[in-house]
């Protein structure tokens, strides 16, 4: 197990700021593929405890008596510069994992909603939650062959607010993954540059 640690490039000693971006999407849509294509390390997996009720467990002493499960999630990282390290999390989009989202979203820069046009409805819940959390996001369409529907049709089908970027993506391609992240950060910059802080917090 220790070999997993040593196989991996350690962070620079100057690293001081961990940042987060969350990739959400339905099962099998390519979240881990996207994370892996831009990450400097092979995606790692870890888990968090959830009770059957879906809330984070509040007392581990009851683990043995309570029906408790764990939910796994993947992540990768990108060293941006001397100080900043960006962590990318792949979060399961299903409703029962909402408790995990709160933890992933807290302090996140923003989110990428990865969609499979054959299963657009899988994204509805995720988009709804993001809007509820006032978490800025972009939509990346991971094509699995074929070109229909168009991006505009996807926008309509998902009933996206104006201004939310919708882009094509091939989750397997590093450059494509990079473009998705750049699109998100540009979107954030524009969003925050023209919106006074008071408006967002009100």
């Amino acid at each position: 197990m220790d070999s997993r640690t040593s196989d991996r490039q350690p962070l620079r000693t100057t690293a001081k700021e961990g940042l987060k971006i969350v990739v959400v999407g339905g099962f099998g849509v390519g979240k881990t593929t996207l994370v892996g294509s831009v990450s400097e390390i092979s995606p790692l997996s870890t888990e968090e405890i959830m009770t059957q009720a879906g809330a984070a467990v509040d007392d581990l002493s009851r683990v043995q008596h309570k029906s408790t499960t764990t939910v796994a999630f993947d992540f990768g990282r990108i060293t941006l510069n001397e100080h900043q390290v960006l962590y990318l999390f792949g979060a399961p989009g299903q409703e029962r994992f909402w408790f995990l989202w709160d933890q992933l979203f807290a302090g996140s820069l923003g989110a990428v909603v990865l969609v499979d046009t054959r299963r657009l409805t899988d994204s509805w819940y995720a988009i709804d939650r993001l809007e509820h959390h006032q978490m800025p996001f972009v939509v990346a369409v991971n094509r699995f062959g074929g070109s229909a529907p168009t991006l505009d049709q996807v926008r309509d089908a998902l009933d996206l607010p104006e201004g939310v970027p919708v882009i094509e993506c091939d989750a397997r391609q590093r450059d494509s993954g990079k473009t998705v992240l750049i699109t998100l950060v540009r979107h954030l910059t524009q969003l925050y540059d023209r919106t006074p802080a008071q408006e967002l917090t009100s």
């Binding site: 997993r4 962070l11 870890t46 467990v57 408790t68 990108i78 060293t79 510069n81 999390f89 802080a197």
Partner: protein
């Protein structure tokens, strides 16, 4: 991605490493808080504590420690809290946790953008 019973692994292990303590208190440790050891592992230490000190000779995010120890995030938080209380680690909190602001400042975003473009 599918939830699976903790019981299948080793529930006793989770109980033992945390001393059965609650995770309800807010440790203020985010998934991406970077942890740095302030001392070397020593004999007689709880093995998880010793392993964390060994891993964090260079900064390491909480979530990476969790992955390497194969322990859930909440359990790792408790272990880190212990080490923090004993002064054996220091933490580098994400900027977002340092202020009340719900959003990153523009300077941070500009640096992130530049970093991504340079990849």
């Amino acid at each position: 991605m599918n939830p699976r019973p903790v019981d299948r692994e080793d529930p006793d292990r989770l109980y033992v490493v945390t001393g059965g303590r609650s995770t309800a208190d807010d440790t203020g440790l985010d998934l991406v808080t970077l942890i740095v050891s302030e001392c070397e592992p020593s004999p007689g230490q709880q093995s998880e504590h010793a392993r964390i000190l060994g891993m964090c000779r260079t900064p390491m995010a909480l979530v990476e420690i969790s992955a390497d120890l194969r322990l859930p995030v909440s359990v790792v938080r408790i272990l880190l809290r212990d080490l923090l209380d004993m002064g054996r680690i220091t933490v580098r909190h994400p900027a977002s946790a340092r202020s009340d602001a719900q959003r990153p400042d523009l300077e941070t975003l500009k640096q992130v953008l530049l970093g991504l473009q340079n990849l």
